[in-house]
């Protein structure tokens, strides 16, 4: 019996050691393969009902280290330019924020690299200081993040938000579309073109023409 038990533990040891050499999907994964581009939309919204947009003049950088700021690095300039161009290509007209645009585009870089704090829509109210609705001409308003904003991550990410400036509800500006860029290299300027192209390409409904 002792021998059987000995044998069985040897088998178990073998099982554990062999199964631990299972293929690790994260090894041999390129940065490009690691990235995901998630888009969320408001189902009830007719995106053709909007004609004009304005875009923030800098990118909000929020992090769990408490050093939130607005930045305009080369990366940020490229992001603003690419997103503007993509919106124009979708048929929307870029106007100044004083010209009562239908849509506001907020850009945010999120750095949660150093903690396990989940970043969820509730936390987004924290951006208020950077994109205070006052910036868009709505002093005293807040943002409304609908339930389709299922955004959770704990790493560096980039968020592109479309805010409806035409139809505020209960003193809140409603977000109608969000693109979240996640994975390795999302803060790398070399990847901005392909990432922005991808999120606008996969959102066919985002257009001015029916």
């Amino acid at each position: 019996m002792k021998r059987v038990m000995y044998l069985m533990s040897a088998m178990l040891g073998l099982a554990v050691s062999i199964s631990s050499c299972s293929k690790d999907p994260l090894k041999n994964m390129t940065d490009e393969e690691s990235r995901i581009y998630v888009t969320n939309r408001a189902d009830s919204v007719d995106f053709t009902s909007y004609k004009t947009f304005s875009i923030a003049d800098s990118v909000a950088v929020i992090s769990n280290s408490g050093k939130d700021e607005r930045a305009l690095t080369d990366y940020d300039k490229k992001l603003i330019a690419d997103v503007s161009a993509a919106m124009v290509a979708k048929g929307y007209t870029l106007v100044g924020k004083s010209a009562k645009p239908d849509l506001a585009v907020n850009l945010t870089r999120i750095d949660n690299t150093y903690s396990a704090i989940y970043y969820d829509p509730g936390y987004w109210s924290g951006i208020g200081g950077y994109y205070d609705p006052f910036y868009w001409g709505y002093p005293g308003y807040g943002y409304y993040w609908p339930s389709y904003y299922q955004v959770y991550q704990r790493e560096r990410a980039v968020s592109i938000d479309l805010i409806d400036l035409k139809n505020p509800k209960n003193n809140e500006l409603v977000a109608i579309w969000n693109a979240m860029l996640r994975g390795s290299g999302v803060w790398d300027i070399a990847n901005v073109d392909s990432m922005v192209t991808a999120v606008f390409a996969q959102s066919a409904y985002l257009t001015t023409s029916k």
Partner: protein, 206 residues
């Protein structure tokens, strides 16, 4: 775990029953085999690639020249990486490279019936195994994992051959084909159907 416990109890019970069979080999044997597995049915919708990452090992206690009971475990990993594509989700889209893995660790009680006498040059056998399997489903979107672990019932009929290395040798070459079924449901998988080929060695030890 329950089935493991039952298996061990069954084996202990069998030891007690040790009777005076005119056996060529000691009644307890252990086998270790390398496994190749091919997904079938809805499992192919998840990963249709043949798995070359697997093994199986078992203990058989021979009640007589024909019949044996035992325990089997093992490991099989299915793996497939899909090129970047856009997946529609509730209220949106995800563009991602998907890496799909399924790791299966069964713990099964087995019954085998040998179709030839122990002194035959080739000993074909049929077997049936049933028990539970740990299913680790892990679908990666890019580097982000969507993982579900589950234990599920599994049944697995088997046909195979044992070829002794010489007459009466306690060491035998083993080759077998197993079909494994489990009513496992997870996302695109509606049931687990796999055909598995194993080659290895069987050694009578006690």
């Amino acid at each position: 775990m329950k089935s493991l416990k039952n298996g061990i109890l069954l084996m202990i019970a069998c030891m007690g029953m040790q009777t005076a069979f005119a056996q060529m080999r000691s009644p307890l044997s252990v086998n270790v085999d390398y496994s190749i597995a091919q997904p079938l049915g809805s499992l192919k919708d998840y990963t249709d690639k043949t798995s070359f990452r697997g093994w199986t090992a078992g203990l058989q206690y021979h009640l007589n020249d024909r019949l044996s009971v035992g325990l089997r475990s093992g490991y099989q990993e299915f793996f497939q990486k899909l090129p970047r594509a856009v997946y529609h989700i509730d209220g949106g889209e995800i563009s991602a490279v998907q890496t799909r893995t399924l790791q299966v660790v069964p713990i099964l009680a087995t019954v085998q019936y040998q179709l030839a006498k122990p002194d035959a040059a080739v000993i074909p056998y049929v077997g049936l195994a049933a028990g539970a399997a740990s299913m680790e489903y892990n679908k990666f979107y890019g580097e982000f994992s969507d993982k579900y672990d589950k234990w599920q019932f599994m049944a697995s009929p088997e046909i195979g051959i044992n070829i002794p290395f010489g007459k009466g040798s306690p060491l035998l070459f083993n080759a077998n084909v197993q079909y494994s079924y489990s009513p496992y449901k997870m996302q695109e998988i509606t049931s687990y159907n796999v055909i598995q080929a194993n080659v290895g060695l069987r050694l009578h030890i006690n």
